[in-house]
Symmetry: none
Subunit: 126 residues, 4 copies
């Protein structure tokens, strides 16, 4: 999977990596049960300190996206394990913030929905 880190931006590196892996899982670029590259490998590929990669992987584990095995490496979880109860509240409040700005800037509801469609179209139907 192709990872692109923006070193200049405001988003911390470990979070960029986390986000892109989540996106990779959603789009199917990272298949379920696939093993992620070792932290050391990933660090070498991206030119980043190993600790940062580990931080991302741990974050992903805490959020139920992956499971870290000391021997077997880091593996993507099957979907049903990824569910989390309070996530929908979080989704609502995050959307509320970004959509408020969208609305203020004159973006219509239908336009937002079109963007949602465009994004979901890239996700794997399993």
């Amino acid at each position: 999977m192709y990872i692109k880190i923006n070193f200049k931006g405001k988003i911390p590196i470990y979070k960029q990596l986390r986000n892109q892996i989540v996106e990779g899982i959603a789009t199917g670029e990272l298949k379920r049960k696939e093993v992620l590259p070792s932290a050391r490998q990933m660090a070498a590929d991206l030119g980043i300190n190993v600790h940062i990669i580990s931080k991302s992987y741990k974050m992903l584990q805490n959020q139920d996206f992956v499971t870290i095995h000391k021997r077997k490496g880091t593996r993507v979880n099957p979907p049903f394990q990824i569910r989390r109860i309070d996530f929908e509240d979080n989704l609502f409040s995050e959307l509320k913030t970004i959509l408020s700005e969208s609305y203020c800037r004159g973006i219509s509801k239908n336009r937002v929905k079109a963007v949602v469609d465009r994004i979901y179209k890239n996700f794997t139907k399993e």
Copy 2:
């Protein structure tokens, strides 16, 4: 307008305030041309340092939501001034991140759209 700050969370206070003001503008709780409470007043109300309030207000000004006037205070801009060109790119990438997680957690496209509907329903129709 009612403001609720979470002092424990990870989102910085000045950003929480900024977000809630933007949401207030979108829902119509804050009318266009309305004057926001003075930085000092708001600081006293929320039990927050004045500088933080100023920071929020300046951020809102930089993003064209309000105009800060030395003598008259901070005023919400009329809608046509709020447009920003590169915002839709930003919207896309932010949605892509949050919706990837939604998808992984089993939230369907229609459910997301229902949330979008629910949020937009609270916005003012002008």
Copy 3:
């Protein structure tokens, strides 16, 4: 003479007024020895407090542009009285700042000179 005040901008009102009067003197819109409108009159025309107009007039007097007579009103000084010794240093440092930015933004020396020409063309040759 036509005065235009921008109430939203960062430049304080008294300074905007001062600048426009200096520009009026330079372009000849305000003839030498002409009497400026009384502070009260100007205040009424612009919808501004009298004290602010007075502040501008006093500033102009301190900088040798006008002379305030209690009875006769505020009169534009003849040119030779306006000279000030340390002004050229001031001109240099102000130009240095603004031209540094011009240069950084890719504006050539000739373009700057063209702007200088355009501005000077509007000044009165007496």
Copy 4:
């Protein structure tokens, strides 16, 4: 690079610093891609509070002169990034004000142009 702050003058410190850095970029004293001293370092050197330095740096970032990097510090941008569209209008109105005063004080157009030449001569030819 040598910085000189006037603590008594009317120009705020953060703006003086900003101006001198822009001038340093124009003259080439500050090379493109050079890292500025850390805010703390600069603050210690000048005997100024850290926040003021940060304010200058942020202002320079907003104006596209530098990029602030949390870990690597603040770096001067390469020239092509510094362009800004509406700058020439700003240049015109600023020059109009200062040149009106120059004209009133008897400084000829050629003299102004000589000053422009003198300033531009110190800028780096790339």
